[in-house]
């Protein structure tokens, strides 16, 4: 991998709309023969990331449908489904943290590329190594404390102060899940930038 690990790279699905989608790209990446335990583990994580990203897409589909059905329900039945707004805002939280690890794996999170583009090797890789490691550390710390908060909410029985009043840990838990997977991805990026 010669590209700086952190300079984002977009799958080429937009310049040529007919080409295969990101999904297809992932599939071929998965079926590519690779050796070693490390690559095997990373392939497993890649599958998890992709599966969660698919769930994120379904979550968005559901949220959109619910809001649309609420409009219809009010218009035709004169009845408002009061849970819709709350559920769609929870969907947003879930979608974001379920989808974020996949986007990180594909290096599509927005970054300012002015300096990284200007740097030559080996400095680009070195910088990418340091930044990835730092980001892994941050995500790792937040995975830990995210879990601690969710666990505390579980034990304490904390609920949301809202209409549906769900147990708060059901919402918080998605945060450490996403952060944990992103920690792994950043570690992987750090290792890959060392391999050069």
């Amino acid at each position: 991998m010669t590209e700086a690990a952190l300079s984002p790279e977009r799958p080429d699905d937009r310049a040529a709309p007919d080409s295969d989608s990101t999904r297809e790209v992932t599939m071929t990446a998965l079926s590519e023969p690779k050796t070693g335990l490390y690559d095997g583990v990373m392939r497993l994580f890649s599958r998890i990331n992709f599966a969660l990203a698919c769930i994120a897409a379904v979550v968005l589909l559901c949220a959109t449908s619910f809001v649309f059905l609420e409009i219809l329900s009010r218009f035709f039945l004169g009845k408002s489904q009061i849970w819709v707004i709350e559920i769609s805002s929870y969907s947003l939280l879930y979608m974001t943290f379920l989808g974020a690890p996949y986007m990180l794996e594909k290096q599509r999170h927005v970054a300012i590329d002015l300096l990284t583009d200007a740097l030559g090797e080996p400095w680009r890789s070195r910088l990418a190594f340091v930044m990835s490691l730092l980001a892994a550390l941050i995500c790792g710390v937040l995975t830990w404390y995210g879990t601690a908060v969710a666990w505390d909410q579980f034990q304490f029985g904390t609920r949301e102060a809202s209409l549906l009043a769900p147990k708060s840990y059901w919402l918080t838990i998605v945060f450490p899940i996403g952060m944990g997977l992103m920690t792994v991805q950043f570690i992987d990026q750090a290792i890959k930038s060392l391999r050069g």
């Binding site: 004169g78 408002s80 904390t158 809202s162």
Partner: protein
Amino acid sequence: DEIRMNVVSFTPKTAAVSDGFHRFIEAMNKEFEGELELNWRGGPEVMDPFRMADAVRNGAMDMALMSPSYYSGLVPSSPSSNISLKSYEEIYATGYYDRMTEIHDERGLVYLGEIPASDVNFFIFLKEPVDNYTDLEGKRIRVWPAVLPFVKGLGAQPLVLPIGEIYTAMERGVIDGFVQGNLGWAEQFEDVVNYYITPPIYRAGFNVIVNPRKWSRLPDDLQQRVQAYLREELAPELDKGWDPVIEAGNQEVANAGFQEIRLSDADAEAYLDIAIEQAWADLETKIDPALAAELKAMLVD
């Protein structure tokens, strides 16, 4: 030496309701000068109001001035203080605030007391007139969770919308009305609101909650003096000090040309009864029924 506490409020410093908070902070800092200093850091711009009680519990914030319904997820019985028509002193005499202290303690919070606003009430605001509350049946009314049982009890259609959408929803007729206090906004809404129903419902009161670890750093003697000062001296004063704010709110309502729909005495009684009973019935499903009965006996005659 002086102990400093970081304070947040669930409303912005400049909101009409924050008037009581200004008076609270000022009085406390004067009374306990050299011993305790409250540093009011701000409102929703500093932290999501729905997360402030969590912050007080885990110690990220020392004190929060909260609408009780904003942390019902942490202390499910906290919204009970709103479902009443009594004044602060009447409620104080029942021992309600001591009971709330115990309940908060079980949930990892110190309940210092209330910034009461017994005369700050809530109204239903409407675009089109109604003759009686029974005409509200089937109307679409924007609510927040605490007033949902009441609106349902009227046979109306409750809707939950973000606050920023109320104006457009009223303007375009997505909703027929909404439940709100009348402080500090009427003139902004003069184009979309024309009527409001009296009598008003419920009472307002804002809880002062403190982080237990921070609280334990105060000497016992100071703890007692602070609590006694708030509950016995300051709170009754604060409760009576809303008149200028309420007067200004009423003036705004008048300037905006909202017209009062005053229910007849018999209808008013039935209307208030729905408000109180529906809210208590709802609370009974959320907390231990025995506790609900105990609190209700203190708050409702």
